[in-house]
Each structure stands twice: as C-alpha cells, then as structure tokens.
C-alpha cells in the first residue's frame, strides 16, 4: 500500500519556475498554495503579484492572478475586494514594492483595514534589478548601491514594516516568519493560514512578513544566506506574532 505523505499542492501549476537556486520565493509560493488548498478557496482566490522577481507568480499559481504597477498591489487588491467582497484577495509583495515605492498604499490599505491578506517577502535587497539596497537592508550590509555597507547618515535605518504597521488600528494580524529551516517554514505557514482565515472571517487587514533568501542579491550561497538570516537578520527583525487582535 502506497500513501502520499508530502506532495505539491494543487494551487501550484505543473510548471517549473525561473527563480535562482535557493530563492525563498518558491517556498513562500508553495506555502500560500498549501493554505489555499487546505482552506478550499482555490476557486474564489484572486492574487495580486508585484513588480520584482515575484511578478512571475501569475505563471506559477493555479488560480486567478493579476499583476499591479510597482508598489500598488494594496490599491489594486482594494479595487477587487470592494466590488467582490466574498472573494479571497491577497497581495504578494517584496520589500522594494511594499516598503519603498508602495508605502502610501500599504499604510492606507492597513488604515482602512481592508479585508485583504498581504504576503510581504523581505529579503533585504532588490533581487530583480541585481541587488541594490532595499528599505529593509540592515546597517552595514553591503549591496550593489551600498558598496561600503549601509550607513545611517546616508541611507537611514532599515524599515521595520510590521512594527510600523502595528500602531495602526486597522491592522488586525501582523506576524513575521522566515523560510530558513523546516521549523520556521511550518510556523510561517501557520501565520499565512491565520492571515487568510482572518479574511474569511471578515476580520480586516492581515499581513505576514517573511524573511527570505535571495542568494543572488546577497552574493551568498543558499546555505550561507540562511545562516546570515538566522544569525544576523533576525536580530533586527525578530520573528513571531507581532499583533493579533
């Protein structure tokens, strides 16, 4: 007798993706798909992909997906959710998309407590454009545009999105996970699930930030990227549920 134990979720298409070796996007895409499968919402889910590497998400998920201009997924998701309130609408955004060019949209979507789910992938660099400093690049971190390391006087501080949003009354659930080891992956999935369940229960704005690997942008091997996130990045971006009301 043969039984399946771990197989690819139905909400992921039978297609190979083009992300770099060890890129965390693949894992996060799968976690979203697993949650969509488990909640049995594939036929009413609409995803909004960002500008950045994850723009290609529309090719990989097996449900309706649109792209949005850079940083605008929360506004596009608002436009979808307001006219189709019984559908499940989520945005998938990177750190450049959400925390730099799209700060106005994310803050106001949160403040209106739009009943949407936001998946925020924080890998501390602009991956698609070859590894420039992101709003979440930590102090001292070397990138293409901070060759001497990020400096406070020049580049300011890395933006803590969850903590920033936590003071907004409209945010109902904020959690920060990572996809650096099996335990973190399982925990992150539980956060994502909660953020979707909140939407189903009409609770309002939920966001899950996910510390993820961009080996190409970080100029590290996949395994080194993980070690760096676990040893350095989590000191500045602590993991866990930040707000749940």
């Amino acid at each position: 007798m043969k039984a399946t134990k771990f197989i690819k979720p139905k909400a992921i298409k039978e297609l190979y993706h083009n992300y770099c070796p060890g890129c965390g996007h693949g894992i996060v895409h799968r976690l979203v798909a697993e949650v969509v499968d488990e909640l049995n919402i594939r036929d009413k889910t609409i995803g909004i992909a960002p500008v950045g590497c994850a723009v290609f998400a529309y090719d990989y998920w097996n449900f309706d997906v649109s792209e949005a201009p850079h940083g605008r997924p929360p506004a596009v998701a608002t436009g979808v959710k307001r006219v189709l309130p019984d559908r499940i609408v989520f945005t998938y955004q990177g750190d450049g998309d959400l925390a730099a060019i799209g700060t106005a949209e994310i803050i106001h979507a949160a403040n209106r407590s739009e009943n949407i789910t936001v998946i925020f992938v924080n890998n501390t660099v602009y991956g698609m454009t070859s590894g420039q400093m992101a709003p979440t690049t930590i102090l001292g971190q070397k990138t293409l545009t901070t060759p001497y390391g990020r400096e406070i006087y020049k580049d300011g501080y890395p933006l803590k999105v969850c903590e920033l949003l936590s003071v907004i009354e409209g945010t109902k659930y904020l959690a920060r996970g990572a996809v650096t080891n099996p335990k973190n992956v399982a925990l992150t999935k539980s956060y994502i699930k909660k953020a979707f369940v909140n939407q189903i229960e009409n609770k309002g704005f939920s966001l899950v930030e996910i510390l993820s690997m961009c080996p190409s942008g970080l100029h590290k091997s996949p395994v080194e990227s993980i070690e760096w996130i676990e040893n350095e990045l989590v000191k500045y971006f602590p993991l866990g549920v930040i707000k749940d009301v």
Partner: protein, 354 residues
C-alpha cells in the same frame, strides 16, 4: 425629464445611469462636486464610493475593480491626472475598460484652478509610457457631459480600453437645463457582438485560472502585442470618430474648436452668419480618434482655418496634420486658465479676412 444641473453633477448622474459600480478619487479643485455627490448617492445605491490616499491609489483601485469586469471610474483635474499616467499605461496594457475624467485646470505644475484645455497633448498622445492611446471624449455642454458619461462604459468595454472624458473647469461648474430623456445620439455605440467578459478575474470556479499582466518578456511577444493594440486603435479610428460641423460648406474661414472653446466659437459663428460673414465651425467630439479625414475633406474647399483653444496651440498640430498643407492655418488661444472671448475671436477673424 428636464433637469437643471451643473456639469460635474451631470457627469455623476450620467455615470450612474451608465451602470457605474465603483468610484475612487482624491480631492482636487475644480471637480470636488463630483466626490461630494457620489459620497452621498453611491452608498444608497449599494455602489462603492471611496476617497483614497492619492490619485495613484485611485487609478490602481480602478484597475482592481476593472479586473473583475465591474464599471469603475475616477475623476480628477490636471495635476492629479498626471499622477495617474502610470496606472493608465497599465490599464491600456492590460486592456481593462474604465472611465477617467479630467476636469482640466491651468498648468504646468500646480498652475491654477481655472478651467483650461492645456492637457490636450497629454490626453491624445497616450500620456504615459509606451505605445498606447485612450479614447478621448470632449463634451461641450452639460447635456453632452451627461450623455457621454452614460455611454462611456459601453465604449470602454467594446474595445477593452480606458475612455477619458475631458472638459475644463468652466464647463464643470456651469449649470444648464437639459432633458435626460431625449438623446442627441452623438455617441451611439454600435455593438456587432455582445460585450466579451471571458477575460475577467472573479475566481477560477468551473474554469481554468486566468492571469492579467503586461509583462511580455519572451522574444517578439511584446511587439506582437503592440501590433495587436495598433490593430485595435485602427478599428477605433475607423468606427468611433465623432465630429460636428456648423456652416462649413460655404465657409471662407473655418474655426476649429472643442469643449468650452467650441461653445465660444459657435457663438461667434452664429453672430457673424447673421451679418452674412461666411464662417464655419468644426467641432471634434472625439479627440482620439481625431477627425483627420473629415477635416482633410473640408480643407479641399475651405482655405483658411482658425484653431481656437484654451492653450497655446496643441490641437493646432492635429489640424495641421489633417489639412496636410491644403489650407492656411491660424491660431488663437488663451492659456493659464483664461477664457477665450467671442470679441477676441472676431478680431482675429477680421485680421485673417483682410
């Protein structure tokens, strides 16, 4: 039913008649009556009204609602429309129908809050990045604002392309009596087939998943899409040109104006015709598609054209293209939110004739 309405309110009533589902906007003068009206009325009709954080957000919310096949609209004035250009480029690239209204004010920069026609280039040349056009309607009366607002969703859906309605702040604030029942029929939309909604995103229930996107990275894919868009614009140019003529057949000088400046021109024409001076008027109603062919035909007979605009010469270039050297082209314009007056136009005509 006879009504006395302000232009901006006629727009609201027309849009509601036309099946508006959702409206998103950011405050800006001179079009604030629109948001105030919708804020009160749309919730009672179970439709969406949202005042949002910026014009950028507004146009992207229109994008979101348009993805689902709903009838979405935003309104703004010149500086706000500039902010929306990125979104409009994406809407055209994703072939999403929607209606955008520009109640134009003086520019550049913050300019002022008086009515103007200084956004002609921005409106008719796409406005943002890439090779695309929006369908541009230029009403010249409160009744036309009402009718165009009512018909524009259908026009947008027929071609899966945004429709831009532009008029100046003066027309937006002006009140006129009109009958909502009688149709002037200037913007009848002919449908050869039912509106196609097989592309909308509403959840992949009993159908394969769909995606809507504008990133076309494969070799030759984008050029193929650009050519597909061009084919669409060519059909629009063939089918949707709207233009009105007043006394052009025997005209010695033909005025060309749209929107508010056409109203003043019409007064001039009526005034001078009473004095047996042979003046005509061409009034483009669609600015994209522009009535190039129609104006070209007239330029075979009429040898002097006077283009009148509330800017310093933008449609002027299209009239030059249309007449293709057949006629002498003159221009009279006022900028910075100043109105053209009938007397000023008459003086200019006298200069041309003598």
């Amino acid at each position: 039913m006879k009504k006395i309405l302000q232009g901006n309110i006629a727009l609201c009533e027309g849009a509601i008649e036309g099946g508006l589902d959702a409206y998103y906007a950011y405050p800006i003068t001179p079009q604030n009556e629109i948001s105030a009206y919708f804020a009160e009325v749309l919730p009672k009709l179970d439709k969406i009204f949202l005042q949002v954080e910026s014009e950028v957000a507004a146009i992207n919310m229109v994008f979101g609602s348009a993805l689902t096949g709903k009838r979405a609209m935003t309104t703004s004035s010149s500086p706000g429309i500039s902010l929306m250009q990125e979104g409009i480029s994406y809407l055209c690239a994703c072939e999403l129908p929607c209606v955008i209204v520009n109640v134009m004010r003086g520019g550049p920069g913050l300019g002022n809050i008086s009515g103007s026609q200084q956004d002609y280039f921005q409106s008719t040349r796409g406005g943002g990045h890439g090779d695309y056009y929006t369908i541009v309607l230029a009403p010249f009366s409160v009744k036309e604002i009402y009718e165009f607002a009512k018909k524009s969703f259908l026009l947008a859906e027929k071609y899966r392309n945004p429709v831009l309605i532009i008029y100046d702040g003066y027309l937006g604030q002006m009140m006129e009596v009109f009958d909502t029942e009688t149709q002037e029929g200037k913007l009848e939309i002919k449908l050869e087939k039912d509106i196609d909604k097989s592309w909308i995103l509403d959840g992949a229930k009993n159908r394969p998943p769909r995606k809507i996107r504008s990133l076309l990275m494969a070799e030759g894919e984008l050029e193929k899409f650009n050519l597909k868009l061009k084919e669409k614009y060519d059909i629009i140019k063939e089918n949707e040109v709207r233009v009105e003529f007043y006394y052009v057949d025997d005209a010695e000088v033909c005025l060309v104006g749209y929107g508010m400046s056409a109203r003043v021109c019409l007064e001039v024409v009526n005034n001078l015709r009473e004095k047996a001076i042979k003046i005509g008027l061409i009034r483009p109603i669609t600015l994209f598609p522009f009535p190039y062919k129609e104006i070209f035909e007239i330029s075979k007979k009429v040898k002097k054209f006077l283009v009148v605009e509330m800017n310093l010469g933008q449609m002027l270039e299209d009239v030059r293209i249309a007449t293709n050297g057949n006629a002498e082209i003159f221009f009279y314009g006022r900028a910075g939110g100043s109105l053209v007056s009938a007397d000023e136009i008459i003086n200019k005509i006298k200069e041309i004739i003598n």
